[in-house]
């Protein structure tokens, strides 16, 4: 379970997140929506303990991710925005490296995630030589390693062509069982397809936290009404 309680984050004079609260339970796929600079990435980084909240509290499985970094990160798979990777490494080498750090020393697990994200033919390729779509899949494979209970995906389909987007979407749906997935995106139709719940943020505050509208196009309408 993830609890974000009255969290505020200030960078100098800029308030990136202002009194944000929400919870995420097992089995939920939360679509995290908001315009650029709304505070989506900052909130995700707060959940991971990568930054310290100015005020408020973040709990991951009832633990503070800053005070219990190692315990909480064992259960989280993270795909950061722009997906930074070690370009000089080969795909399998990189995934084995992440697996070792996560304590998943079994090469079979590496092969499993390689199969899951469908990058077997690029397993021996250097990451810097891969297309954006493949790189995104490598990042996702790294996040999936160790079968974490929580997946935090910051714009997992950004910059991908429609076919690649579809593949990533299906993969998220496939892996969602018994997990908490929080993913941010600008593509509203994507949220309609995958998410079970919506959290919409605007100017650092949560403007909507609830069920996804059932009607087709409902997410877009809701988003426009609250944000635009």
């Amino acid at each position: 379970m993830i609890t974000v309680k009255n969290v505020t984050k200030q960078f100098g004079k800029t308030q990136a997140v202002n009194d944000v609260s929400f919870t995420a339970q097992k089995g939920e796929i939360i679509g995290f929506l908001g315009p650029n600079g709304a505070g989506k990435t900052t909130t995700m980084r707060l959940i991971l303990g990568l930054i310290r909240p100015t005020q408020g509290e973040v709990l991951v499985n009832r633990l503070d991710p800053l005070a219990h970094r190692m315990e909480t990160l064992q259960h989280i798979g993270y795909l950061p925005e722009n997906n930074p990777l070690y370009g000089e490494m080969k795909v399998r080498e990189y995934l084995s490296f992440v697996a070792e750090i996560k304590g998943v020393s079994n090469e079979e697990d590496v092969s499993t995630v390689i199969g899951q994200v469908d990058i077997s033919e690029k397993a021996q390729a250097k990451i810097e030589e891969l297309s954006r779509g493949y790189r995104q899949r490598v990042g996702l494979a790294a996040a999936l390693l160790g079968n974490p209970h929580i997946l935090i995906l910051d714009e997992p389909t950004s910059g991908l062509d429609p076919i690649e987007q579809e593949k990533i979407k299906n993969l998220i749906k496939k892996t969602a069982k018994n997990k908490i997935i929080i993913f941010s995106t600008h593509i509203l139709s994507e949220v309609e397809d995958i998410a079970t719940r919506l959290v919409i943020v605007s100017r650092g505050t949560v403007v909507y936290d609830g069920d996804k509208p059932k009607r087709k196009g409902g997410v877009e309408k809701l988003f426009k009404k609250l944000v635009v």
Partner: protein, 238 residues
């Protein structure tokens, strides 16, 4: 930590940069000593150990400058910090990787004491090998403290060149603290403090073949201090 160390080492060993820096170091170290060997007129490795800190002043920051700054610039540090690995493990693995590369550089200079041992044996006045080993031990401790300084600067900036320059300048001042030039300019009290702080003064006993516990403590605490400061910088969550 083994996997982190493997990653750091494989970057340099699968990349021309690592080989270029290590080989250049070995070439300069060997050449600087050999060019004066017949001028000095005595069979001793001391001139070599006196030159090494000046070479390390350049080569260690060159190897270390990218280690954290590049990870911050490309944001791979965020990936690392989102994995269950501590900041201390990240810093220590990077430190050990550069220290091993420095060790490889030193191994490439072993031809000097070996050839000197053989040559001096032919004229009946062999160089004293334990003195040479202690000299290398001192240089390795000195290298450790230089690596720690360079890692610290690498953590402070996303700009590798800036990290390199800051490291070189800091090490340069630490080296010249012990020179007569500084002694002539500064008041005696300050001079004695700076003299103690200078790694060259601490190294001098090792160069003479003497293992000084106080100097070992100095190098270890110096190294630990800068590694600690680097960890603190990574632990900042602003």
């Amino acid at each position: 930590m083994k996997s982190l160390l493997k990653k750091e080492l494989s970057f340099y060993l699968n990349n021309p940069l690592g080989y270029i820096v290590i080989i250049l170091f070995a070439v300069f170290a060997n050449f600087m000593f050999v060019k004066d060997i017949f001028v000095v007129g005595s069979a001793s490795m001391r001139p070599f150990f006196d030159i090494l800190p000046w070479l390390l002043m350049i080569f260690i920051p060159a190897l270390t400058m990218r280690m954290i700054s590049e990870e911050k610039r490309t944001n791979t540090m965020e990936v690392l910090l989102s994995l269950p690995v501590s900041e201390t493990q990240i810093v220590v693995s990077k430190f050990i990787a550069v220290w091993i590369l420095t060790l490889i550089g030193f191994v490439l200079t072993l031809g000097l004491p070996i050839s000197m041992y053989v040559l001096t044996g032919q004229v009946g006045g062999r160089i004293y090998l334990p003195e040479v080993f202690v000299g290398y031990l001192g240089e390795l401790l000195l290298a450790a403290s230089f690596i720690a300084i360079s890692l610290f600067y690498s953590s402070l900036t996303k700009n590798q060149i800036l990290a390199f320059l800051a490291s070189v300048i800091t090490i340069f001042f630490l080296i010249i603290f012990s020179t007569d030039f500084v002694a002539g300019v500064l008041p005696p009290v300050l001079q004695s403090v700076l003299n103690y702080l200078s790694p060259i003064v601490q190294l001098s006993n090792f160069v003479k073949g003497v293992i000084d516990i106080r100097s070992i403590f100095y190098f270890l605490s110096f190294t630990a201090l800068f590694l600690f400061l680097t960890v603190v910088d990574l632990e900042r969550r602003n």
